[in-house]
Symmetry: C2
Subunit: 340 residues, 2 copies
């Protein structure tokens, strides 16, 4: 997303020469890392877990230094939190309950031991908040830092949220404000910007970037809806516009949305009035959810899910999956995040 | 393991300018990759699978270019095969049946499209051989290529192979020859070496490095043994010496092994007579298994598992986990693979 960032060394509390992991070796590093895993799953070739109730849901996400994070924008604790949160958001986007996750870590030998400890602390804090267990992983040497997480969850058969399940007549709902994470990144990269916002507002935007909150609070609400449950949607990690187009294309439906209904925080309006709408649609990494459901289900969620708002509806079948704006223009994915 | 290898471009059948993935973009790359996944799991935030029978087993392994593979030693198809095989070997090392795997891939934009296709073909071929499904993944830009795989399997409760379950009186069994993979790597890095072996022997060693075969043939044999089943062990991917010491330390037992019983292939003896024993103990990446079981179970496996041989026995309790050689010396992990 923000390429070309310098591969700078992490300043560790002013310590001019933090202890690198090459100094403690693999065994020393493993000892540190294993503190963050439950004792009963450590030390074998794989972790053994209870089988999930219902169906098994599995997702994987990779974060790469200089692409998804850098010491400039994301302290190690936040890298760990975000890496876990991104995976838990995918589980939320399936309507599934998290169970466990494993982490593959690539690290240069020069990586400070403290960076690895803070990374694991961030992963553990995010896991603990949403009652998910870190059950194992793999460490290896790499020219660049990266974090590859796989998360496992469970969902009752036939009740997963899927992109292809939207139908004409559905209401489109988003679970919260969009654009804050992109604004927070901007403030981290260019601290001189957004000066029209208060310090608290700027802090809120930075926090949205560094400490996103997956919308797993949706899951118990869905579990309370009796069978049959048909619900479409996905998380908005690649941007709300991307999610809208993906759901409509996968379902073969057209939708009409009212852009001005998309929730935008006061902080974003104050800090970046000119970019607010663009970032709300195309910024990405807010880790909210876009949902498409029949009116009664949508109303049920709108009444109970904090931050959820109606933004439009599915108007008919359409193999192109067009998302119409109020003024008759079609929404483009063009500005959406391209990984390559 | 072999650092400092050049990050050379892959020669694609003599094509001087293979199409890079940056030319087809993320959408084009996703289209290619999705051909290798079953249609019903593609396109959502996560894959939805049947819950495993028994307990869920999860393992993750990361391969990094220049550390675990390079264009010099490993064509893309073999990188894919090995990445899957390493994970399946961990499942075999738990006595579990593979079910599914997900792959996280980091790629520079300059990576040839053909390299990615061959990588996926290799992963699919290895999955197909051991009846495991590739169910999803994540692609992202990275300064270096890496492959992060998570594999899921299942095992009946209480019947997993674990390192800590060895007991005095157990026989120690290895499932096949050791050292070939290390010799194959040597031949790839230094083709002028090992010239005392025949072309077929050299080919066998190279194949051991590029196309390891996880010992999942053990799993149905274990399933045929009635309850209760106590079996200790692990895979030997980090070297047989490492596995011996790990099992003894985790179980708190001492063992005595007869080094000359460790199976060494004729190819290895011919190509590298001076290094054969060292590589058999410390070479790693043979992806065989070390098992520790009571005599009746060990005999059952020795009679039925191709290549399996007795190499020693567990002699008593020992908090240090000492592995004694015949001449009264203790086996060292010192030469074992250090990732950092």
């Amino acid at each position: 997303m923000f390429s070309g960032l310098p591969d700078s060394a992490s300043p560790q509390n002013g310590d001019p020469s933090p202890l690198p992991i090459s100094a403690i070796g693999e065994a020393g590093l493993l000892q540190i890392v294993q503190r963050y895993c439950p004792a009963q799953v450590v030390g074998d070739d794989a972790a053994v877990l209870a089988a999930p109730e219902g169906q098994l849901v599995v997702t994987t996400d990779v974060l790469v230094e200089g692409v998804h994070f850098s010491d400039l924008t994301t302290p190690a604790h936040a890298v760990g939190w975000r890496a876990v949160a991104a995976n838990l958001s995918d589980l939320a986007g399936m309507g599934s309950r998290p169970q466990a996750l494993v982490v593959g870590l690539g690290l240069p030998g020069s990586t400070p031991v403290a960076w690895v400890e803070e990374l694991y602390q961030g992963m553990r804090d995010c896991c603990a908040r949403w009652e998910c267990q870190l059950v194992g992983g793999d460490l290896c040497r790499s020219p660049h830092r990266f974090v590859a997480i796989t998360a496992l969850g469970s969902v009752q058969p036939g009740r997963a949220i899927q992109r292809r399940r939207a139908q004409p007549g559905d209401w489109l709902v988003v679970t919260g404000p969009h654009g804050d994470a992109r604004a927070g990144l901007e403030l981290l990269l260019h601290p001189e910007q957004g000066s029209s916002a208060t310090a608290a507002e700027r802090e809120q935007l930075i926090r949205a970037h560094q400490y996103p909150r997956p919308r797993l609070d949706l899951v118990p609400l869905l579990e309370g809806i009796p069978d049959p449950l048909r619900i479409a949607g996905m998380d908005t990690s690649d941007g709300l516009a991307d999610a809208l187009v993906q759901v409509c294309q996968a379902s073969g439906v057209a939708a009409r949305i009212e852009v001005e209904r998309i929730p935008i925080s006061e902080a974003l309006r104050q800090a970046f009035p000119a970019q607010a709408w663009e970032w709300a649609l195309y910024g990405g990494e807010d880790f909210e959810l876009l949902l498409s459901a029949e009116v009664s289900v949508a109303k049920h969620l709108l009444e109970r899910l904090p931050g959820a708002v109606w933004i439009g509806e599915v108007t008919g079948w359409d193999p192109q999956g067009t998302v119409w704006l109020k003024d008759g223009q079609a929404l483009s994915r063009q500005q959406a995040f391209q990984h390559f």
